[in-house]
Symmetry: C2
Subunit: 374 residues, 2 copies
């Protein structure tokens, strides 16, 4: 067992239950609530149904959240929340809306722009006076139990994480019903994103026992349920298992951060327009093979626990699972050409997390890894 | 997978590292610190060594904590902490000193006696202004990561738990060094107490996926390390693994509570003077067999994960392990006679947690369970 120093701190109160997102009046602080979501969730009536179930509260909505949310959207949302004098901010969605809600809940009373606190800004958030509630609508990001938000500067086109203890939500409401209408392709890509979170926590150079145990459980649960949720969107047991696994994987990587898979996903998302889950999982089998370099014994134990002969068999199994869900498994399927590989490697290597991978990560090794799945 | 509603909330910041208990100045709030411990820890100089390492702080000590701490000790300690105007309270020890530190940290600024808030008292603690740090010296109780304290009313001889969110510590410092000098008998009994915490979280009627994963990891770690720590007290790897497993088991049962094993341990402790760990683990094999009634599938999975053919083989294996560490495995070894069994069952059944056992628990079934290990 690992005997390195470690820290575990995840103060969010997590509540799991079918239908609880429509019974959350008791968790609200004050009278004025702002719900932050994406346009689809608003136009489909889902957000208004959540707000309508808040008895005796004044609810406003900010539905202008795009994928890979921009700092411009953050500031616009914060302005709207201040105008509405929100006492509770609820982020509902995949990672984007939850990430925006995190920083908006801080900006309501701290004032100013996100740039006053982030990316060179020198101010620090005081204690957050506004209550923050997060409700995932995918079984994937785990953002509901992390203290990280990722925002994109639209001028520079740069995606940058913002980490602060003020981003820990007061409550995370895990309601499987919110995922029942996810289409199969989204079930697959977000579920494999959660798989990446768990395995990256497990093999991480900053791994630790608490997170190892959680990651193992999440990985087994995903392998046992993702295909059922993909094939049968109305399989409520599989949906419950998947959103639970995404939560548990989120808790695991909230302590360790991620590794090379997520580092390399950034250029695949911003430049090749892959979904976050597809951009991550496309390199997953190759990173499983690479991680044997520094985590051979841990991967042997994990493969056995998951029912595979060894790490290579696990990598093959994951790739076959992805194919069975029509996910891309070769970079060419995303439009990547041989000539793009040096640049993708270079951008991936600028993310500090890549050095948490249990293998030598440099221009040469990352290019070789990418070529192996071209 | 379980799809019942569940809640997970464990806000304590956990820090693990060899030697960190002697480097905790950075975690202290204010200038005046009170260290709460038992007489042995004070007389042996351990407590003063911890206090002496606090640079620039005024440190006072309250070392009058007995096993199964009384409400009288609690009130005396609170009075001393108020007189010292403590801004940080540090509980160092097994469960007893940590449990006392929890309530004392609340009483310093809330005022009054424990009985104003507990066992019929009608006052409620306001937010705790005094910082609370807990440092376990055994790999067992898990009290450092629970919001429960257990106190004994010396007049009535009744042991009663007190649960409040104000008891979550600010920091738990997990320093394996604190356990290096534990004698083998204490290593065995406290380690098996941690085993009981984990398995009682796992088979609990209030079990939940997060805690299941943690419990499985803790159980495997204990089985792999307890004998090494018992045979070789200076095996630092085994010590580190054991205190980690006790921590993880603590997190697991902090969410679910315990079950029949702990319920029945209360009369065995108070009336037959068994140590807490011995009083718990003596019924462990019998409860593993009983729990098959309601948790057959979960026990089958667990037994397989732990390397046993089935739950009965696990029960046999645990009993053999206990024998190998010279722990009592028959009630007669504690001085219990056939005629005592109805009374022990009756007292055990007064603890509400006994109904969290996944088996029918009534006078008849508990007596039968106890007779099977007389």
């Amino acid at each position: 067992m690992n005997t390195k120093n470690f820290r575990f701190h995840m103060p969010v109160a997590v509540h799991y239950g079918v239908g609880i997102a429509h019974n959350m009046t008791g968790w609200i602080r004050g009278e004025r609530v702002m719900i932050v979501c994406d346009p689809f969730l608003y136009q489909s009536g889902v957000a208004e149904k959540l707000g309508g179930a808040l008895e005796g509260k004044t609810v406003s909505y900010f539905s202008g959240i795009e994928p890979n949310p921009s700092t411009v959207s953050v500031d616009a949302c914060a302005e709207a929340a201040r105008a509405a004098r929100a006492e509770t901010v609820i982020g509902v969605g995949g990672g984007s809306a939850m990430d925006v809600a995190k920083v908006v809940a801080c900006l309501v009373t701290n004032g100013g722009s996100i740039y006053d606190y982030y990316a060179g800004g020198t101010k620090r958030f005081g204690p957050r006076a506004v209550k923050l509630i997060l409700i995932p609508t995918t079984a994937g990001t785990g953002s509901e139990v992390t203290n990280v938000g990722v925002y994109t500067n639209p001028r520079a086109g740069v995606k940058m994480p913002f980490v602060t203890d003020e981003f820990w939500a007061d409550e995370a409401l895990i309601d499987p019903e919110m995922t029942y209408s996810l289409p199969p392709a989204v079930t697959a890509s977000t579920g494999m994103d959660a798989f990446c979170h768990a395995i990256e926590a497990y093999w991480n150079k900053e791994s630790q026992p608490m997170c190892d145990f959680l990651a193992m459980g999440a990985l087994k649960t995903i392998l046992e349920n993702i295909k059922a949720a993909y094939d049968h969107p109305d399989d409520t047991a599989a949906r419950g298992a998947m959103i639970t696994a995404a939560l548990v994987a989120g808790v695991a990587f909230s302590q360790t951060r991620t590794t090379g898979i997520h580092a390399v996903s950034f250029p695949l998302t911003t430049e090749f327009h892959a979904s976050h889950g597809a951009a991550c999982s496309i390199t997953l089998p190759a990173f499983i093979r690479a991680a044997k370099q520094g985590a051979a014994e841990k991967l042997r134990v994990l493969a056995g626990y998951l029912g595979y002969a060894d790490a290579d068999a696990l990598a093959d199994g994951v790739e076959a699972l992805m194919r069975s869900m029509k996910m891309p498994v070769r970079l060419q399927e995303l439009g990547v050409r041989e000539a793009d590989i040096p640049h993708i490697a270079e951008v991936g290597l600028t993310a500090a997390i890549i050095q948490l991978t249990p293998a030598e990560m440099n221009q040469e090794t990352v290019e070789a890894l990418l070529r192996s799945i071209l």
